[in-house]
């Protein structure tokens, strides 16, 4: 191969370009970027909004990087892929020996959303450009006089606060909820599932996390799917109104949409490349068109798509490693997958075998060449928790199993051996956990849990074990 063309400058495309350059200093690499914004960290967007970083800090690579590493960046949109060439919307053709489609995904739409967002009454968090819009919406709507419907009778709050509705309880939804709370909104999260984060957390973890979020002023409304959104009726719309499939309507000063994403498969479809939800790829990430590959959250392998930043990065490295015959990137083994997130300041870490999580979690976590659809039975969850101050259980919620826990570690086992570890409020040292995977569960005691810790020095934790058989 002498010419590589990559469509998309998100983390998957950029990582593929960098990994390929590392492997071959003479390879001709072209990166097609439909957006003008240079490569940036999408997970970091939330932290710009909360004030931890600034928009300019989101770009990990200096502007000179592409020249220095002789990667040609073309700011243009691809239209379709022919045999041996990418055709751009302006008619130009860029020939390739190998092509990588890393076109990513776009936010799922909601009927009426465009109009309401244009009016500054709703927002979503997907791209760097959304930061300004979100700041604008949250700042201006805070002062608006509410309609009676925006103060639902079941909320016994004395001090009037502007109301925010978040649609969706995925990580983005919870991040937007945290942001609305930080900006002084009473926040209600509506989501279609029975429980948020049900794919990665078990009942106890979920109850504990929800209780902590509720203590911040967030309410959760399960089993509600948004159908459409419009501005509140009247000559001067105070906010937005959401209609749910259940027939329920809710009004709020601000509605934040976090309804998930859909793969951008238009280019592939136009080119006759097989797509399902996403672009269908084999274990080496090759599509149905020879020489054309797909990675990131546009790629679907074994019917699964992963929307994680980490997975996109690993897939890119794995794909390039496959071209050059190198062994698979470690951590590409699905039994050693990892994930981390932060919910309202509470760290979430996961290391281990994703097949031990509920079925849908395998979608979220990881897609790799080996695939791991095997049915695993006999899961055992041993739980360790550590606490200091008693946590106040808010009125009207069920008290969580470990009311004074500030940290929780869940051991997920298979056949009596450690298969995976999930931790809330406790940072895990990846190497240490991976080294202990496969160890008999009974040998794991508080001392061993402490060796997994990646907390700052001098942090004191004492662990209490409660065993749960699932």
């Amino acid at each position: 191969m002498s010419k590589l063309v990559i469509v998309g400058n998100g983390v998957a495309g950029v990582t593929a370009a960098r990994a390929a350059r590392r492997r071959d200093a003479r390879l001709d690499i072209t990166l097609l970027a439909a957006e003008a914004t240079p490569y940036y960290s999408r997970p970091g967007l939330h932290y710009v909004l909360t004030g931890l970083t600034r928009p300019e800090d989101l770009h990990p690579l200096p502007a000179s990087y592409w020249d220095t590493n002789r990667i040609r960046v073309v700011h243009a949109e691809a239209h379709q892929i022919e045999a041996g060439a990418v055709v751009l919307t302006d008619g130009r053709r860029i020939p390739f020996d190998r092509c990588v489609l890393a076109t990513g995904s776009r936010p799922r739409d909601l009927a009426g959303a465009a109009e309401v967002m244009a009016a500054g009454l709703a927002c979503r968090l997907h791209r760097k450009e959304d930061i300004e819009a979100i700041n604008y919406v949250l700042t201006t709507q805070r002062e608006v006089q509410p309609t009676p419907e925006m103060q639902p009778p079941d909320r016994a709050t004395a001090a009037p606060q502007p109301r925010a509705i978040v649609l969706g309880a995925g990580l983005t939804g919870l991040e937007l909820a945290e942001l609305c709370v930080q900006r002084g909104y009473r926040t209600d999260v509506f989501f279609p599932e029975l429980d948020p984060q049900q794919a990665i957390l078990d009942d106890v973890e979920r109850t504990w996390l929800l209780a902590r979020m509720t203590a911040h002023g967030v309410s959760f409304f399960r089993g509600e799917s948004a159908q459409s959104i419009r501005m509140t009726p009247g000559p001067f719309p105070a906010g937005a109104e959401v209609l749910f499939t259940s027939g329920r309507t809710e009004q709020a000063h601000v509605v934040a949409l976090a309804l998930g994403v859909e793969p951008c498969v238009a280019i592939a479809q136009r080119s006759g490349i097989a797509t399902s939800r996403g672009i269908t790829v084999g274990p080496d990430f090759q599509t149905t068109q020879s020489g054309v590959f797909a990675i990131g959250d546009v790629a679907e392998m074994d019917g699964r798509i992963s929307t994680l930043w980490y997975t996109a990065r690993q897939q890119a490295m794995q794909m390039v490693d496959g071209w050059y015959g190198a062994k698979l990137v470690a951590g590409a083994d699905p039994r050693e997958a990892y994930n981390s997130a932060q919910f309202f300041g509470i760290d979430y870490h996961f290391w281990g075998d994703t097949s031990l999580l509920p079925g849908s979690a395998q979608d979220i976590h990881f897609v790799s060449a080996s695939g791991n659809r095997a049915e695993r039975r006999g899961k055992v969850a041993n739980r360790f928790w550590s606490g200091k101050r008693p946590m106040v259980a808010p009125k009207g919620t069920d008290a969580p199993e470990n009311p004074s826990a500030t940290r929780m570690v869940r051991l997920i086992g298979f056949d009596g051996k450690l298969g995976a570890v999930s931790a809330l409020g406790y940072r895990l040292r990846g190497d240490a956990v991976r080294a202990d995977l496969g160890r008999p569960l009974v040998t794991i005691d508080p001392h061993r849990i402490s060796t997994w810790g990646f907390e700052p020095e001098f942090t004191q934790t004492s662990w209490i074990r409660t065993e749960v058989r699932a």
Partner: protein, 388 residues
Amino acid sequence: MSGIKTIQRVVKGVRNRFASRSPKAYLLALVLTLFYVGIYWYGWWFDPVLWLLDRPSMWLRGAPADHWFLYGTLYTVAVLGFGVRTFLRRRDDAYQRLRTISVMFVQLGLAYLLPNWFRAINQPEFYPSYFWPLKPEYLWPGDQGMGWMLSHPGGWGLAFVIFGLLMILVATPVLTYFYGKRWYCSWVCGCGALAETAGDDFRTEMPSSNRAWWWERALLYPILGLIVLITVALWLVSGPMSGSVAAPIVQTAARWYGFAIGATFSGVIGVGAYPLMGPRVWCRYGCPMAAILGVQQRIFSRFRITVNSGQCISCGACTRHCEMGIDVRRYAERGEPITRASCVGCGICANVCPRGVLRLENGPIDERRYIIPELLILEEDVFRDKLS
């Protein structure tokens, strides 16, 4: 409830009030610079207010207040007051809690109360938390340094001299081996104390470009060379080469160093630059103690900032908050431990990281350069980055 709101406001601090490179920031920089210029060379500016401190000065050191006592008092009050704020701001982090208490204690006890008490009992005003070359006179011969200390009655002067020698020749290398230079720069040093407390809001101002890194090395190590040269030369002209024509030259050089480096760079620029370049300008570009500690940290120390393999999301919070201008993100993205000479171990990068990617720790020295090869290394840049 209003108490909590007040704490929240205090903890949030001046961060939002001095926007980067704003007119307010320049104004504050000017005020701080003028203050230091006054303290060093125009002490009489402060005469009208000295009476306010006469009582504490008499009590602490048996003499009426002068502008140096005013300076020391303001400095210590700043460290303590902003120290409380820093403690509250970072109260969820055990390392930050202990470290903040440490610098507050050292500043109050070792850099304020003790020296003043030494003076009260007619002994040299000795600062046990400062050593050569940061206070170069502690190893200089004659009236400029050790000679003056030894000339005091009793054995105090000798004790101070021996203490100073032990600290720089024995304690420093040993502690730096085990803990890296953070034991001094972030837990003991008074410059660091002010930086981490009063200067916390400005830490994001330090540039992290390659060009800034170049200037760091271009200034820091020559200054170290200079103070070593001057110290050796002073000993030579006071002993084997006394009376030679070099003597007045060396004396002048020593005085010039005290003015240009000790006062202007360390004090006037060091603190004046807080609002514009962060609180560690002296530490990064000038401090010879930092240079020595940094070299050892780089080549012979158990300290490192471990990177938790693949968790980095490249958000940039770590690089932004590094007061020494280290591009921490670059190491975190690659899974490469940080053992940079300039890292003072303040731990804020690890504190602000939203995914728990970084941890300051000490460990086996042969493992500190180990980079988890498969997980994350993307490239050593195939073609070297230009100065950017």
